[in-house]
Symmetry: C2
Subunit: 423 residues, 2 copies
Amino acid sequence: MNKPFIIRGDIIFSNQDKSLNVNKNSYLVSDGYKSLGIFKRIPKKYKDYELIDYKGKLIIPGFSDLHVHAPQYQYRGTGMDVELMEWLEKYAFKEERKYGNNTYAKKAYKMFVDELKNGYTTRASIFATIHREGTRILMKLLEKSGLSTYVGLVEMDRNSPDYYRQASVEEALKDTEQWIVESQLFDNTYPIITPRFLPTCSDELMAGLSELRKKYNLKSQSHLDENPLEIQFVMEIEKDVDHYSGGYIKFDMFGLDHDCIMAHCVHNNEEEIKLLKDRGIFVAHCPESNMNVTSGIAPISKYLDMGIRVGLGSDVGGGSSLSLLRAARQSIQVSKLYRRCIDMNLRSLDSKDAFYMLTRGGGEFFGHVGSLEKGYEFDCVVVDDSKIKTLLNDSPEERIERLLYLGDESLIVAKYCKGKKII
Amino acid sequence: MNKPFIIRGDIIFSNQDKSLNVNKNSYLVSDGYKSLGIFKRIPKKYKDYELIDYKGKLIIPGFSDLHVHAPQYQYRGTGMDVELMEWLEKYAFKEERKYGNNTYAKKAYKMFVDELKNGYTTRASIFATIHREGTRILMKLLEKSGLSTYVGLVEMDRNSPDYYRQASVEEALKDTEQWIVESQLFDNTYPIITPRFLPTCSDELMAGLSELRKKYNLKSQSHLDENPLEIQFVMEIEKDVDHYSGGYIKFDMFGLDHDCIMAHCVHNNEEEIKLLKDRGIFVAHCPESNMNVTSGIAPISKYLDMGIRVGLGSDVGGGSSLSLLRAARQSIQVSKLYRRCIDMNLRSLDSKDAFYMLTRGGGEFFGHVGSLEKGYEFDCVVVDDSKIKTLLNDSPEERIERLLYLGDESLIVAKYCKGKKII
C-alpha cells in the first residue's frame, strides 16, 4: 500500500449522466489506493497527509484503452493501403509471428509499454500473440510499469497462415491453462480469454476456451462486426447462427455471466445491438482503425443512449496511435459523418460523450475506475493544458474540449494508477 | 539574396504523377533562393558552398496550407457543437470582430504566426478579418516570420450580424484598394481578393472586388459548396444562377484568368466539378473542418484523377490544428469512409496522394513551389523521424507514411523558405 496523499488542482471528471463534474482549485485525497473524495478545503482528519500542489493544472481520470494489439505496435502508422481481411494477412500475422522469438518480443514490447506508460492511459485490455512465453514477457513489462491491464494470449487454430496458428486445439488449451496459472503471480496484470475472432477459432477451441473462462472466472475479449468482408466470411463459415454475435453466444463467450469486450461493433444489426445491451457487453469503439481499414462508422450515440457500455480503443496497429486523445476527437468527428452520410436522425457525439467514454465508460470494465469520486481507484493524470496557447478564458468544459482536440502527451505533468505515482 | 549552400540527407518529394522521388543520402543544392538540383555527390562547381549535414534525416518540401482563418486561431479546438451556419454566428463572427482592436489583433496574430512558423508549413493562403489595420498587422508579422503567404482582407456586406459587416460597398472597396496598395511594401506577403463567401457578398461588392482583382492582377480565394444548409441558403438568395459556382463565375471570380482557391468543394454537382477542372480552380481540401462542422466528405480522389488541382487546408478554426500532418492523414481516412458510406466505386487516397497534396498539389498555387527539383523555390523541412520509435526498417515510402500518421512538430530539425533558414 502506498502512503496516503492529497493533490490540488482543477479536478474534472464525468458524472454518470456524462455531464462534467467540475471542481476548480480543489483537493483530491487518496488513501494510497482509492479516492477518499474531493474537497474545497482539506478536512482536518487528512491534515497530516502529504500535499502535492498542482494548482491551475487539470486533474482528470486516467484513460482506459479497451482494445489494443501490443505486437502490432512496431508497424503502427504504416500499411494503410488495404482493407481489414487483406491487412491481417499482409501485415498483422507477419509481424505477430515474430513474437515467437523472445528476444524480439522483449525489445518490441518494451517500446510498447514505455509509450503506454508515458501517455494518458492507466488501464488497458490488450491482445498479445499466440505465443505463451512472449505473452508472459509482455505481462512482466506491464506489471513493472505500474499500469493495470488485462492481457490476452491470442487464440487461433484456423483460417490463418500455417506459420501463425496454434498447433492443435489440445496444445492451445494446454498452453492457455498453463499461462493462466502462471499469470496469477502478477498483481496488476491479469489474463483475459482472447479468441482472436470467430474466423480463426474452431468450435472445439471456442468450447475449450469457454470452459477455461468459467473454471478460472475470467473476462473475455474479441472482435465483432468490424468490416463487411469479415462479416460476409463469418456468415459463410458459421452456418448455424443467425448473426456474428451468435457465434460467440453459442459458447457463452458473449457477456451475461462475465465482463466481455467486443471491439468495433460497426455493423451490428438491430438484433445484435439489443444483445449488446441485454448481455452487458463492453463495446470498444475504435474510430481510427475503423477508418484506416475501411470498416465504417459505428453508431455510438445510439449505443450510449440505449445504455450500452462503451469505451474507446486505440486499436494499434489498425489505429496508428496509442494516444486515446486521438480516439476521443475522432469519435466525435466520425459521429458527425455518420449523420451526414448515413442517418441524420442519429445525434452526433460531443466532447462530454468522448470524455465519458475515455474515462468512466471504459473504466467500468476495470471495476471502480474512471471517476475521481470517493471509492474509485485512484487513477488520474495531471495536465498542464496552459501549453495549448490561447488568449481566451476557457470554461472548464472548453478546457476539456480543447484538450481532446489539441492535447498531446507533452502536457502530462504526473500520472497515478491505483494511488501510485507512475510518471 | 541569401548565400548559396548545400544540405545532405534523405531527400524525398512527390513527382508530378504522385509517386515518390527518393534520394537517400544525397545533396540538395540551393543558390540561396531556388533549388539547383539533387546530387549523389557534390558537383565540382558547388564545392565551395557551405555544407549543412543532416545525414539520416528526412528532407521534404515545406507544406502549403491553402485555407486557414488566422483570427479563428484563438478558439481552435473549441465550439465543436454546431453545424457551419450556426457555428459562424455563434463563434466565428464574435471572435473575428475583436480584430477591430489593434492591440488584440497584434497579440492574437503573433501567437498564430509563431505556431505557423514552427510547423511544417512554409506557404499559406490566409483569411484575416474585415479590418484593414488588423489585416496589415497580420501581414507585418507574417513578413517578419520568413514564411511566404497570401493574406485576404475579408469582404462581407450582408447576411452577417450588424457588428461584423463592412459599412457599405463604397467603404469596403475604398478600404480594400488602400490595403492592396499598402501591401506592396511586403516582399513575401501578398494581398489576395477574399470575398468571404457568396452569402455575405452583395452583387455590388462582388463586382467591385472583381474590378480591383483585375486592376491589380491579384489572385482570389473563397468558400464553395461546403455544407448542405449553406448551399440551400445560397440557392435561396441567388435566384439567377444554376449552382453555387455560378455566383462566383458571374463576376469573373472563379479562376480561368487568375489563380483562385475554393475551399471545401464537398458537395459540388457534376457540372460544378467540371467547372473546377475547366477553370483551373485550386480546391483546398479541409477534411477535419468538414467533419467538425458536419459538412461531409469531398470526393478528392475523383478530383485528383480528373486532374483538378487540390491542396490541403487546415481551416483553423473549423479545423482545430494548424498541423497539416493531421489534414494529410485525415484526407486518407475520410476517403475510406467515402468509399464505405457513399460510393465504393471511388478509390481511397493513400499516403502518396496525401503527401502530393501537402507539397506539390498545394504548392503550385504559389508558383514553382512544393518540389525540390532544380528550379523550384527552396522550401524544405528537415525531419528527425527516428523519434518515431520502431524496430522495423522502414522503406522511404513507409517513412513518409509513418510521418503523416504519427509525426508532429517536435520532429522538425530545420525549415527553409525561399532558401532562407527560418527555423
